[in-house]
Symmetry: C2
Subunit: 452 residues, 2 copies
């Protein structure tokens, strides 16, 4: 065995993931800093280069410089490739963590991923990455063709239409939220076709890789039972239900809260599309068809919560993830009903998963609260803009009320940290700080205490 393989084998998978990210950030930082990729006369400070690299690798989309004005055509393609690998890396690793940490994943899960669960090898990771790569590439190809063709009527040259279509498709599918229009999707605020295609791409990227694989299986007729019926996994059912429930709830909340404010003077179809698109984008996209600063504070807080929850696990999205939120709600409801186990879709939730969900949520809340209070003590911006920025970074959403580029260097470092944690996930973050798992060699008597 080579020295490299020996080194890799001695690391836990989570350490490997973090190493992967650090390496990816380093590589992207160097790549982005090369003047050849910049527009003539544009310079980038180190912190801004690092910020852009972390934002791209974590497919967050918060930007301290205008992508359109900083990078030339080649630079934009390079950025799209970084987004591509950022997005795919995240999906791969998210799924991988699931396989490794969720020891009880059924046979189907292992078949899907086509790796041996007991061997956390490098080759397994590569195989998984290739199968994800294929799915993502097909989605992006579809997006690029549709958007580029359509953009021929928007832009003067076919080259520009192709670049915009390609970048738009990659940015939407990876939920990166980067834009090269200079103002997100605001130019398409009244083009419902572009919005529709973008929403489809955003949802496909954020719904989670296992869901995509299972839908592919369903369509191709694989894995049907003797009655020729396809069975979705519990994960797919919970995450899809939660994903679309959040989407609908966000749509409704934005519509109701803004009906007398931002939406007051809009036509009925504008009301529908403005609220729908902004709800979809909070799942993880970060693209916007309007300036979110125009929303009222209650709407902004709702968006903060939606960004904090984020997308499905094993997707390109961040935040605490949909399943974590769903299991918390189920646990509270079941407790209130006096039931001892959570039954859903003819299955029971593992008590370990309930415990994990609560740990992830409370840790995430404490982390975000700390970041908000710290930023509020060093930055001069209104508190709502800081809350919004932190939730957007943790959810790797990339929406902003506009303070990103005005943050101090320390402030940028805090946001970089939040994007990083939001990306690798609280669960991996806690695992990073984890010692060796220990079996209890002794026990103390249990004693009850009074709870709230």
């Amino acid at each position: 065995m080579s020295a490299f393989k020996l080194f890799i084998n001695r690391l836990s998978t989570i350490h490997l993931i973090v190493l992967f990210y650090l390496f990816a950030v380093l590589f992207s930082t160097i790549l982005i800093s090369i003047p050849y990729f910049h527009q003539t006369g544009v310079g980038l400070s180190f912190i801004d280069t690092l910020f852009t690299a972390v934002s791209a690798i974590s497919v967050t989309g918060l930007t301290v410089v205008s992508t359109a004005e900083t990078f030339n055509a080649v630079g934009k393609v390079v950025l799209a490739i970084i987004l591509q690998f950022g997005g795919i890396g995240i999906m791969t690793l998210g799924t991988f963590i699931w396989i490794i940490l969720g020891k009880k994943v059924g046979l189907r899960g292992r078949q899907l991923i086509k790796i041996d669960q007991n061997r956390t090898t490098f080759s397994g990771l590569v195989k998984l990455m290739i199968s994800i790569f294929k799915i993502i590439l097909i989605i992006e190809l579809f997006g690029t063709i549709v958007l580029s063709t359509y953009f021929l009527s928007y832009f003067d040259t076919w080259q520009e239409a192709l670049l915009q279509g390609f970048f738009g498709a990659v940015s939407a599918t990876t939920n990166a939220g980067f834009d090269i229009t200079g103002s997100s999707l605001i130019p398409f605020a009244h083009d419902y076709f572009v919005q529709f295609i973008n929403m489809v791409l955003l949802i496909l990227g954020a719904i989670g890789f296992p869901v995509l694989i299972e839908v592919q299986d369903l369509l191709s007729g694989n894995y049907r039972d003797i009655n020729n019926k396809y069975h979705f996994s519990l994960f797919t059912k919970i995450t899809s239900f939660t994903f679309f429930s959040l989407l609908l709830a966000g749509w409704l909340a934005i519509y109701v809260l803004e009906r007398n404010a931002f939406l007051a003077d809009k036509l009925w179809h504008e009301k529908i599309f403005y609220s729908l698109f902004q709800s979809v984008t909070t799942r993880n996209g970060g693209l916007a068809t309007m300036d979110v600063s125009d929303f009222t504070i209650p709407t902004l807080l709702v968006i903060c919560i939606l960004m904090f929850i984020g997308a499905s696990p094993s997707s390109v999205g961040g935040g605490i993830r949909t399943t974590t939120f769903a299991i918390m709600l189920l646990a509270i409801l079941n407790h209130a009903k006096g039931k001892s186990s959570i039954k859903v879709y003819g299955r029971e939730i593992d008590p370990d998963d309930i415990n994990r969900s609560f740990i992830v949520i409370t840790t995430a809340i404490m982390l975000c609260a700390t970041a908000i209070i710290f930023l509020a003590s060093i930055e001069p911006f209104p508190i709502i803009e800081i809350i919004f920025e932190v939730c957007s970074a943790f959810g790797t959403t990339g929406l902003s009320m506009g303070i990103t580029s005005e943050l101090s260097t320390i402030g940028k470092c805090v946001i970089i940290f939040m994007m990083f944690v939001g990306r690798i996930g609280i669960f991996s973050f806690l695992f990073l700080m984890r010692g060796k798992e220990t079996r209890d060699l002794y026990h103390y008597p249990k004693e009850k205490v009074i709870i709230g």
Copy 2:
């Protein structure tokens, strides 16, 4: 058995508690509305009467009218008596819930409370109330004597000094936060003796009844083991440690965050006492030696978190309670360390308690967030003032940035609801909505899902 006893026996204890509160609120509302207790020419609207009654019964201390200017001397004594019963009722019922729901409470717990744990009878509740009444009365008597004597130099007549001393002692011990000076403890901003006595009374009221009982046992030499050593319960150790840790953390945070702001032009002893007193008061007191609106936003957010956590269970305080917060932190730390059980002070925490803590915290956060967003959508005040008001109501702390009396009627109803829930506790709140506890008659196969 009489019809009344039959009715009482058919209700669960938690229903009984809520009935008690509703009855107490009704009775107080009627009492407070009697013009005989008002200053001449002062009228009170229904919503303001109800608000004052709920605030008094829940010993929160948020006020929509000036207590000093609304009530005459007799009215102030009546209010003090309502606070008294509110505070004692809460301690009694809090302890009672502990006894009833914490089935595994040790023999000592039952001895302390001197009731049979399996009989949730009315007489047990009365016995408990009397023993709490005695302790509280002794503390208040001490406070009244010290403060009244000292106040002889502040006020013109001994009657006024006695009224101020009596009301001050009751308001501090029950952590009610009501004041009849017209401006909380601001007149004593430079009187460290009054502040010290107030802090002692606040802490004794908020530290929790079981702690007081155990300290009493320690001092009287009861319950010593064969080595003549006294053993505190796990509850007393956890809640005391958390209580004083939060107090210190708050002191430090306020000091650091305000050293260049509110505290910038203050003398060193003023810096110490302003930050210390405001930290103590966030545990539950609600009295203040300054206008909290003068603090910067980061400090206000820290105070919001401290108020949200609140005081010890089985105390006069509200919020999620210290033990709930402590167990959450321990669970996260233990998870990060890869340990499967929480060992603390030579005991293990019951897994049920861990689950309960997480449920209480997440439910509380969702409730407060909903209240904040709802209030933000109907009230014109800055978001920080709304966040502060909601946290203060839920923690039954009673600090305010000054918007309480300007809230709309619906806004006042929201705050009334939050005070009520903060008082009975999330745990009882969830229990209220609970169906019959069901044993699982069947099980589904367990299936893992991916968590954040």
